[in-house]
Amino acid sequence: MNNTNIYLKLTSRALTSLRKSALRSFLTLLGIFIGSATIILVIEIGKGAQAEIEKQYSNMSVNTILINAPSAEGGVSSLGVADIPGLKEISEIKDIAPQLTGRLPITYSETTVPLNIFGTTSNTESLVNLKMRQGRFFSEEDSEKKNKLVVLGYTSAQELFGDNFGNIVGEKITINRKQYEVIGVSEYKGGSFGPVTIDDSIFVPYEVANRYILGDSGRFNINVIVNDFKDLPLAQEKIAEKLRELHNIKGNKPEDFRIRDMGSLVNSAQSSARTMAILLWTVGTIVLVVGGIGIMNVMYTSVLERTKEVGIYKALGAKESHILYMFLIEALILSVLGFLVGSVTSTILYFLVSKTGFSIIFTLYAYVLSFVFTIIIGLAFGYYPAKKAAQLNVVDALRYE
């Protein structure tokens, strides 16, 4: 017996039937395609968030400790460059650099854009692992002499000199009405260091930033690199002890500094990204399940409407498997269509969202996963009504009006 014939014919009949009730099919599709698209976007946004975190912290070795003044109420922190020599005595510390940051309008000829000022010492070049595209980073000597020099991050160079800037070493830019000479441009790096992103920063010798540019308006912090990851807890303890001693904090008096290690910062950022991903997944699944219930609802109505038809088909020799197939194939077609519309929609949304600069990553496996999920949900929710239809008693079904 040629069973393929039967199923092919039943499939084409199902297509015809779905086309004839186009509106109802469309309404069912709505739920499915929204769920399908949500799953794709959820994965892509999740991946984007993950990558964003990785980018932000990629330059910060996990061996880094960040010391800053708490933004807490009252009292000025005495945390400052003066603490650095004392801290250097701690044997677990490998390197240490102050960082004074703030956002200011920067001018080159007619162009004025707000950029990050990054006042620091010369060892930041190796601390951040900065690679120079043009010129050089400033030296300890530049810092001591308070030379008015700047090193531009890649993006800030683009902002000031245009996307395809040529050699700009020796050019002069204006900050607070004073002129500074560009002595170098760093390669694109991605990510941030302390409170600022690296690429749209302007590196300035610490003393210059403190005296001429930011002063008290800047945010100050100290970045510490320890010799070994294992030294982190001990180093943090010793730093706290040292700073209490240097700042003359005794007994239960509150500390005027805050110490965090990058490892735990990365961890908490990653875990919040995971939470976000789980949340989005849940939303996607709920939407899809609701879509699935939509399928079930439509199938139920369809089974009810076609009870008599099922009776006739069975009277004429259709087996349970044929009836089951007739209804399941409709659910399957709806799911596949829902997925197709959903993937087109999410692709369009992907392009729109990525244009806004929001972090989203095109992910092929998101489509595969969404497809599998959609089909499973469609079939699972389509199965029960279809099974019910297949098992209808012929006489009762024939009598149904």
Partner: protein, 232 residues
């Protein structure tokens, strides 16, 4: 198919029932519709089933057509005991050996006349469109093949249904008040076709309450209160 069956397997009777009972439970009460029906129908016979409404004649026809299960008793159709077999096998037997003609036609509304006629052949494994066309011609509907049921008159619908009943060349034709929903002219047309089917050698069991129609039959089985009252 049916004609290829070897003679030594075939008994004289196409249908043999013994003590066939059917009851429905309505809450605590049990309603006995058939209370022990014994009938024997030979191959090629034209039987009319008559009886007042509620006598159980339609229930009997449904059981004979394997659309319903008896509560107890035995039913041998074409030498096979069918009262206990599974629904898929029953589907297969209905498909190949029985043609149905219903009072309310029971055409599939979304299919054309031609598609309707071909449906049983599809479930037999191959859609026989050529044969369906031939059958529609033989019932005078060659110019209605692409019409949907709602575009056909009652008489035309019933003729489509008859063509459909014949597509798999069944030995047994079951007709439940085939002219019940028709005017007298189309009723007569339909009856003539059924008589022709009998002349071709098919076994026909027809439920009717019309004495005039019963005259076409070889035998009339009268059912009353769930038992055979008399056979004429």
């Amino acid at each position: 198919m049916i004609k290829s069956q070897s003679p030594n397997e075939t008994s004289k009777y196409l249908i043999e029932t013994s003590n066939l009972r059917k009851s429905f439970s309505l809450g605590k009460q049990t309603l006995d519709i058939l209370k022990g029906v014994d009938i024997k129908i030979s191959r090629g016979e034209f039987i009319a089933l008559m009886g007042p409404s509620g006598s159980g004649k339609s229930t009997l026809l449904n059981i004979l057509g394997l659309l319903d299960y008896p509560t107890s008793g035995t039913y041998k159709l074409i030498d096979t005991e069918v009262s206990k077999i599974g629904s898929n096998t029953l589907s297969e037997i209905r498909n190949k050996k029985i043609g149905f003609i219903f009072q309310s036609f029971n055409l599939l509304p979304k299919l054309t006349a031609l598609e309707n006629v071909a449906v049983p052949s599809l479930f037999a494994g191959e859609e026989k469109n050529d044969k369906a066309l031939e059958l529609l011609q033989s019932v005078g509907l060659q110019d209605r093949i692409s019409h949907y049921p709602n575009e056909l008159s009652g008489g035309q619908k019933q003729r489509v249904a008859i063509a459909r009943a014949l597509i798999n060349d069944p030995e047994l034709i079951l007709a439940d008040e085939p002219t019940g929903n028709l005017d007298s002219v189309s009723g007569k047309d339909v009856m003539n076709i059924i008589v022709d089917l009998h002349k071709e050698g098919r076994t026909i069991v027809m439920v009717t309450h019309d004495e005039e129609l019963a005259k076409f039959a070889d035998k009339v089985i009268h059912i009353k209160d769930g038992v055979v009252e008399k056979i004429l």
